[in-house]
Each structure stands twice: as structure tokens, then as C-alpha cells.
């Protein structure tokens, strides 16, 4: 077990493609870090540099406190779980698990013990004699995990290990990975582009965009205080509504409508305003609110999503299924729940808590 330090790392592929720029990330021993971001943002590249499968163009990677830039993957004492599992199709599950140990000259008896232990932990003992093709997706996934854990490495690296599974299995495997890592306490880096997976698994979340880090933080921190419009729209589902607005003193104008901010206005001038679907309510009579033109609704059972427009901007609101709907209605927001981003850079504007905040009461869920 070890800490991993990524110091100002960059990667330029041989064709000249710059995949990753100036990444700085210190991972504590035993920490579970999730790299999340859209496709092509450099997640795998970064992970593979840590694994030693890609040369490091700039900066340094340290495992423990040793710089490993020029160390072969085999000698980095890491284990990796691949998206497609990369099980050796011609070997039995036993041999898949044992292969890495054999290559390192581990004595036969110890291999047996370790494989048996891992298999028990993952409940794949009865499949040890099968070939991977005779396993279901979830079982394969467990074997891939097993191959990593028998080695007792200093760190686990996961590259979208669940994305080949169906939705239900993904949810349950997610839980298993989390429990396993807790139990083994092995430092882990986990790559995904699924924000939900990222939120639920991470000790700390690293949001990447275009090869750079957008934000590092605990999941809820990132959820509640996204550092940029990019993070805001990426984390959370349905995606946070982002609309153009303009601050005039303590008032916010969205299209033709204006609402008061109870002193929460962080700046003035044009801004991007973010508000999550669940942070809006259908306004009561007389309440200060935004006029909303309903377009269509979606029933999720526990919730109803109503899609419509505020001025000419699309907005989605989550309401309880019982809420009464009319084509023209008004939507109230709590100023405390608004996120403000610079209209040009998209960076979050530091929040401002008014000296004497008067909270408009939020409607309870009906």
C-alpha cells in the first residue's frame, strides 16, 4: 500500500496529440480517487501513465515516494482492472488469477492460498475451473477484480470496469467494489465517465475536462459547489439547468423576468445561473417567481420532470408526481440554492452570504 503522487504530469502522444496537461494530484495511502469526465478528456491516459503503460511526457509520477517514470509496469506493484476485463480467454479462472503470481515466482502453495482467498472473497470459488467465456458479465468482472487483488499490490487502477455491464448489475457491482476497497484499504484510482458511479464511489472526485483538472473534491462538495459550468452540468442528474441572466444589484433578470436574491448576489452584470431541477418549486400565488411555459412532462414514478421554457431558455423542474400542472405557471427558486458562474469563463463566482439573510420559505414536497 502506498500513496501516489502525480506531479505536474502532461502527455503528448507521438502523433502530437496533447491528451493531458499539468495534472497535480496527491493521493493518500488507502484513498479511493475517482477520475471522471467526458469521453476523450484524458482519464485513461492519466491512469495508464500511472500504470506504466504509457510513457510520461512531462512531470513525475511517484508511487510510495519513488519516482516511477521509467519503471516497467510489472515492477510498479500495481494491479489494473480493465474495461473489457482483459481476462486471458484460454486460461481457467484459476490460471487467470495465478498468472501474475507465477510470473513473479511465487511458490505454488502460496499461489493456491491466495487464489482461494480471493475467490472466496469474490464468491467465484465454484468457477475456478471454468474458462472466462463460460462466465456471465458480472462473474467476469469479479474475476478481473480477483486478478487484481490476489497480487496484493500497492495500488488498484480501474479503467471503467463497470461500463460493460447492464444497469442493474452495475449498481450492485458498484457496491461490491466499494466494500472490497474499504476492506482491503488499497489505494485506488478509478476512471469512469458515469457521474453517478463517480459520486457514489469516490473519497475524492477528480473532474477532468480537456486534459485538465476542473475540480478536485469530495463528491458532495463537488455536487453542491461545482467549480465551473462544466462541472455543474456534468455532475448530477437531471443536469443542472444553466441559464443566462443578468445581476442588477440584488436582483436577477432572466429574460424579461426579475427576481430578488435576498442579498445573495455575488457580483453584478451578466452571469450564468445554475439551478438544479429539484431546487425549484411551483410558486404559490403572489410569491416572487419566474413565469414558466410547460412543454412536456416525464413521469419517473417518484418524481415528475416538467420540461419547459423560462423566457426562451429551456428549463427542467423536478416536482412531486401530485403537483398540479397548467400550461402557464410560475416557478419559485430559493436564492440560497442558486449557483452563479462568470458568463465568460464559466468559473464559479464565490458565494456571498448576506449580513441579514431573509430566507423565503421553500415549499415542502406536497
Amino acid at each position: 500500500m502506498a500513496s501516489i503522487d502525480v506531479e505536474n504530469v502532461g502527455k503528448v502522444y507521438s502523433g502530437g496529440v496533447r491528451a493531458v496537461t499539468d495534472i497535480k494530484l496527491n493521493i493518500a495511502d488507502g484513498e479511493f480517487i475517482v477520475l471522471v469526465g467526458p469521453s476523450g478528456c484524458g482519464k485513461s491516459t492519466l491512469l495508464r501513465m500511472v500504470a506504466g503503460l504509457e510513457t510520461i511526457s512531462e512531470g513525475e509520477v511517484k508511487i510510495g515516494s519513488k519516482v516511477v517514470n521509467n519503471v516497467e509496469p510489472a515492477d510498479r506493484d500495481i494491479a489494473m482492472v480493465f474495461q473489457n476485463y482483459a481476462l486471458y480467454p484460454h486460461m481457467t479462472v484459476y490460471n487467470n488469477l495465478a498468472y501474475g503470481l507465477k510470473n513473479r515466482g511465487t511458490p505454488k502453495s502460496e499461489i493456491d492460498t491466495r487464489v482461494a482467498e480471493a475467490a472466496r472473497m469474490l464468491e467465484i470459488t465454484q468457477y475456478l475451473d471454468r474458462k472466462p467465456r463460460a462466465l456471465s458479465g458480472g462473474q467476469r468482472q469479479r474475476v478481473a477484480m480477483g486478478r487484481a487483488i490476489v497480487r496484493k499490490p500497492a495500488a488498484f487502477l480501474f479503467d471503467e470496469p463497470l461500463s460493460n455491464l447492464d444497469a442493474k448489475l452495475r449498481v450492485s457491482m458498484r457496491g461490491e467494489i466499494k466494500r472490497l476497497q474499504r476492506r482491503l484499504g488499497t489505494t485506488s484510482i478509478y476512471v469512469t465517465h458515469d457521474q453517478l458511479e463517480a459520486m457514489t464511489l469516490a473519497d475524492r472526485l477528480v473532474v477532468l475536462n480537456g486534459g485538465r483538472i476542473e475540480q478536485i473534491g469530495a463528491p458532495l462538495e463537488v455536487y453542491h459547489a461545482p467549480a465551473s459550468t462544466f462541472v455543474a452540468s456534468f455532475i448530477g442528474s437531471p443536469a443542472m439547468n444553466l441559464v443566462k441572466g443578468e445581476l442588477h444589484g440584488d436582483r436577477l433578470a432572466i429574460g424579461p423576468s426579475v427576481i430578488g436574491l435576498n442579498g445573495f448576489a455575488p457580483a453584478s452584470g451578466p452571469v450564468t445561473v445554475g439551478v438544479r431541477a429539484e431546487d425549484m418549486r411551483v410558486a404559490r400565488e403572489g410569491q416572487e417567481a419566474l413565469p414558466f411555459r410547460l412543454e412536456y412532462t416525464e413521469e419517473l414514478g417518484s418524481q415528475r420532470l416538467i420540461h419547459g421554457a423560462v423566457g426562451d431558455q429551456q428549463v427542467t423542474v423536478a416536482v412531486s408526481p401530485e403537483t398540479e400542472l397548467t400550461p402557464e405557471m410560475r416557478i419559485a427558486v430559493d436564492a440560497r440554492r442558486l449557483h452563479f458562474f462568470a458568463a465568460d469563463t464559466g468559473r464559479r463566482l464565490p458565494g456571498k452570504v448576506p449580513a441579514e439573510a431573509k430566507f423565503a420559505p421553500v415549499e415542502p414536497v406536497a
Binding site: E72, G100, N103
Partner: protein
């Protein structure tokens, strides 16, 4: 799909039956001819039903051969063909798989050049460079030898190309996983790549076996010694003599014998063969 067109189904079978007849008829005729007595041809057209000399003709060709046409007993030629086909198939597979491995899993100076050198031979048949190749083989003292029969033909790159294509379809992650698991290049080759290529090797074996078996011009040129004759090259010789000396019954027996082994290989190993062939070129 729901389709109620009995006429189309009838047409389909009709076309296929016609096709099968076209494809099978020449060989049927050859078989019929191979069961006739020597004088059955003098009266005109080949009969369409088997004659009574089957055992006699095949027996004579297998054990006695046709010395009047310079052909020793055919079992020797069949043996040579078999040996040649096997050596070529095994040889090609061996040198191809390792060179494909080098090309796909390594990056090194002149890699592209090496690939092109090999690839160019892919389509360049022996026939085109026959005269100088003959000379090289002669200079190396390889005339009338199994080495001469086989080694020069191993230079074709078909197999390298197939293995390259196959290796490219093997997920990168497998090699990465093996590296993380501590495998070096030779270990990876032995433990992972070779076992994974098993089916391809088998499939390719069928294709290359046939390639070796049907060689004609090459053995014709480089063997003077009947101990090294192959069955296919002997056919022409038999036929040439048979033209003026009507021994078509024997010639056709030899033809059937020359066709039988590779045809059996194709039919028995159809699945593998199809895989080998279709993947070779794609």
C-alpha cells in the same frame, strides 16, 4: 422474414443444383474415365457410367506408376506431395507468426520497410520471377531436394498478413494486463498469443496445405529426379503422353488421386478452412 414466394424458393434450389452439377461434373467424368479399360476410349466418347477397371487402374498407378510417362509409383509422389504441403504449411506458419508478432507488438526502425518487403511477396507468384529464382535455387544446390521444393515457397507473406490482422484484433488490454502481470515479450508470446492463435493456426494450416499441394510449376522445374516428383506436377506429364497414347483411364486415376487428399481436407475441415481463407484476405 415472412415471405411467401414458393417460386423463388424453387428457383433457388434450381440454381444451386445446376451450380453443383457444373462444379461436380468434370470430376465425375474424370472418375468415370478412371474406371475404364484402356481400349474403352478408342470407340469414341467417354462413357457416362463407371466401368469395371477401378481397382486395376488405381492399383497400377499407386504401385506401378507409369514409367512410360516418367512417373514412378504414385504413392511415392503422393508421399512427396504430402511432405511438401506439410513442410510448406508448417514453415510458413512458423516464420510468419513470429514476424507478425515483431511487426505488431514492437516499434523499431525500419519496421515499415520490413513490413513492405514481406507484404510485396504476398502477391508476387513464383511464376513471375521463375527464371532467376530457379537460378538462385540451383546456385544454392537445392535442386532435387525437399529444401528446394519448399523453402523458396515459404517466402510468401500471406500468413504473416493474416497473423498481423489477427493480432490487431486482440484487445490491447490483454497485452497490457500481461505486462502488469509481469510478462516479458517471449513469455507473452508463449503464454498468451500462441494459445490464442490456435484456431487461426489450424485454419491457416488447411489453406497453406492446399497451397503447397497444388504447386505445379515450381516442382516441375526444380526436380529432375523422380524421387522428388509431386503428384500434381506429374499430372501434366501423364496427360501429355496420354494425348497421343490413349491411357486416359490411368491419367484420370492419377487425377483423382491428386485431387482426393486436398479435397478431403477442405471438406472435412470446412469450418476451419473457411475461417482461414476469409480471414487471410481480409
Amino acid at each position: 422474414m415472412v415471405e411467401n414466394r414458393p417460386f423463388l424458393t424453387f428457383l433457388t434450389h434450381f440454381v444451386l443444383i445446376l451450380g453443383v452439377i457444373v462444379v461436380v461434373f468434370p470430376v465425375y467424368l474424370a472418375f468415370i474415365a478412371s474406371t475404364q479399360g484402356p481400349s474403352d476410349f478408342l470407340s469414341g466418347v467417354v462413357p457416362l457410367l463407371p466401368g469395371s477397371h477401378l481397382m486395376e487402374n488405381y492399383g497400377q498407378m499407386l504401385t506401378g506408376g507409369m514409367s512410360r510417362a516418367g512417373a514412378p509409383p504414385l504413392w511415392i509422389l503422393l508421399g512427396n506431395s504430402l511432405l511438401m504441403a506439410i513442410i510448406i504449411a508448417v514453415g510458413k506458419i512458423t516464420i510468419s507468426i513470429i514476424s507478425a508478432y515483431a511487426i505488431v507488438y514492437f516499434r523499431f526502425p525500419f519496421r515499415l520497410l520490413a513490413f513492405w518487403l514481406i507484404f510485396i511477396t504476398l502477391m508476387l507468384p513464383v511464376e513471375v520471377r521463375i527464371v532467376p529464382t530457379f537460378k538462385v535455387v540451383a546456385d544454392l544446390g537445392m535442386l532435387n531436394s525437399y529444401a528446394g521444393l519448399t523453402i523458396p515457397l515459404i517466402a510468401s507473406a500471406t500468413a504473416t498478413f493474416l497473423f498481423r490482422q489477427f493480432f490487431l484484433t486482440i484487445p490491447d488490454e490483454l497485452m497490457e494486463a500481461a505486462r502488469v502481470d509481469g510478462s516479458g515479450p517471449m513469455k507473452f508470446f508463449r503464454d498468451i498469443l500462441l494459445p490464442l492463435s490456435r484456431t487461426n493456426i489450424a485454419a491457416l494450416f488447411v489453406v497453406l496445405f492446399i497451397y503447397g499441394w497444388i504447386q505445379y510449376l515450381w516442382p516441375l522445374l526444380i526436380t529432375n529426379d523422380s524421387r522428388y516428383y509431386t503428384i500434381v506436377m506429374a499430372i501434366k506429364r501423364l496427360a501429355a503422353v496420354a494425348d497421343s497414347d490413349p491411357q486416359w483411364n490411368l491419367v484420370m486415376a492419377a487425377m483423382i488421386l491428386a485431387m482426393l487428399p486436398p479435397v478431403l481436407v477442405v471438406i472435412l475441415m470446412q469450418r476451419l478452412f473457411v475461417k482461414g481463407l476469409v480471414e487471410t484476405e481480409k
